[in-house]
């Protein structure tokens, strides 16, 4: 049966060697601290807990010696490696997440104020600036630089999708950076928003948007699919699912399917996504200068993207009639991070004018940011295909 009888001393030695504690190095406890930090952010600070709990626990879980979770044991993929392989490497999870996001998204604020789409485009500035910065400062290849730049869009699924296509070896660190910055939107964005706007600008009150008919909401995903398919086909796996989810929601004809997409299905893939992303952060791969550089450049991308959205609003205001001017604080929501970035616009706005309700106005650029980041990703993917 392949079992050999060995001397007790040798047996004890074998058992000892198979214990994780023998193979402990200083790197593992460092990773525990990082994992626990994410758990603290999620549980203690309530920052994106749905993602950071599985990510943080995934980091903690895989950073013990000899655990058969993320490798290949006896020729078969370990459990978390299966989630990672079929979920992320096959690009299933990002697309399913977009399906769920579409099913939970009300595009009313965007349809009611379509000029905010341009704010979502302007907020992609960080993606392109950081692309250059990654080559210049970090010595990354063009494809790696593109995958780092897209972190500035603050859109996890899009970051995963693009990175898997262009620089799959950077998937773990890029995804972690993107989700970390999405979680830290309330910390990172307000100082930039205050720095780039005047007291007068922060108090601008915007007019209510017009009423949107149900028919317009049904037509919107069809228009979006047509335009994006014709111009940026590379990103249609994401956008197609996003718009399909939204059509299910707005049509009202398939309420059960929409409900499944936005609740059960979304929750299931979120578990697999979080654990898989966390599990890629093994001590051997994470504790070197490169991931730290990715985190630094990702922060630059995110900050420049925030600024890009604000500057776009300020630029547009130069050409708008006074009654149509937008509050530049909604520009920061042009990075994706739905709906956290829109909430930040609302909170910062109310610090200066408690009666000013910017949330619904900020949802326009926020949703435009999702489409903008996906479009930017499609542009970058097509650059290398």
């Amino acid at each position: 049966m392949g079992t050999e009888i060995v001397a007790p001393a040798e047996m004890l030695s074998l058992i000892w060697q198979q214990m994780g504690i023998v193979h402990m190095t200083w790197r593992f406890p460092v990773m525990w601290v990082i994992g626990l930090f994410f758990l603290y952010l999620a549980i203690g600070r309530k920052c994106e807990p749905l993602l950071l709990v599985p990510i943080g626990f995934g980091i903690f879980l895989v950073n013990f010696p000899l655990v058969p979770l993320m490798g290949i044991t006896d020729g078969r993929l370990d459990i978390l490696r299966i989630f990672y392989h079929y979920g992320l490497e096959w690009e299933v999870i990002p697309c399913v997440i977009f399906l769920g996001l579409g099913a939970m998204t009300d595009f009313g604020p965007l349809i009611g104020n379509p000029k905010t789409l341009l704010v979502g485009a302007g907020a992609q500035l960080g993606v392109f600036i950081t692309f250059c910065g990654s080559i210049w400062l970090g010595g990354f290849t063009l494809k790696e630089a593109a995958s780092i730049g897209i972190i500035g869009g603050a859109d996890g699924p899009t970051t995963i999708y693009l990175t898997q296509k262009l620089a799959p070896h950077m998937l773990g660190m890029n995804a972690l950076a993107a989700y970390s910055y999405m979680a830290m939107v309330p910390i990172i964005q307000p100082p930039i928003m205050r720095l780039l706007t005047t007291n007068h600008e922060r108090r601008i009150r915007m007019e209510d948007t017009r009423d949107i008919s149900g028919l317009e909401k049904i037509i919107f995903p069809l228009i979006a699919v047509t335009i994006i398919s014709l111009l940026v086909p590379a990103v249609m796996p994401l956008m197609g699912m996003f718009m399909f989810g939204n059509l299910m929601r707005e049509s009202g004809a398939v309420a059960r399917l929409a409900d499944t997409a936005e609740n059960s299905l979304m929750n299931i893939v979120t578990i697999f996504l979080g654990l898989s992303v966390g599990a890629t952060m093994h001590a051997d791969t994470f504790l070197n200068p490169k991931p730290l550089l990715v985190f630094g450049l990702g922060l630059v991308a995110f900050a420049v993207g925030t600024a890009g959205g604000i500057w776009t609003v300020q630029l547009m205001n130069l050409f708008l009639r006074p009654e149509n001017r937008m509050n530049p604080l909604i520009g920061s929501a042009g990075v994706s991070a739905v709906p956290m970035a829109a909430r930040v616009s609302q909170n910062v706005g109310q610090e200066y004018d408690p009666g000013n309700y910017l949330l619904m106005h900020a949802m326009g650029p926020n949703l435009a940011g999702v489409i903008g980041t996906a479009t930017a990703a499609g542009m970058l993917i097509s650059m290398f295909s």
Partner: protein, 52 residues
């Protein structure tokens, strides 16, 4: 050491950044057009958009 073709990269990125504005700008035009058409359709049928 390989020289990075910065001018090509920058022009390429600038065009793509402009491309993002083009795509979202066209989407904006599409929304406005569909809004105009649907409001005419609905008003012809005597509906108020806020009824939906």
């Amino acid at each position: 050491m390989e020289t990075i073709p910065w001018s090509n990269i920058l022009v390429g990125l600038l065009i793509r950044f402009a491309g993002v504005f083009l795509v979202l700008g066209l989407l904006q035009a599409g929304i406005r057009l569909s809004g105009a058409i649907t409001s005419k359709l609905l008003s012809a049928r005597g509906h108020n958009p806020s009824d939906h």
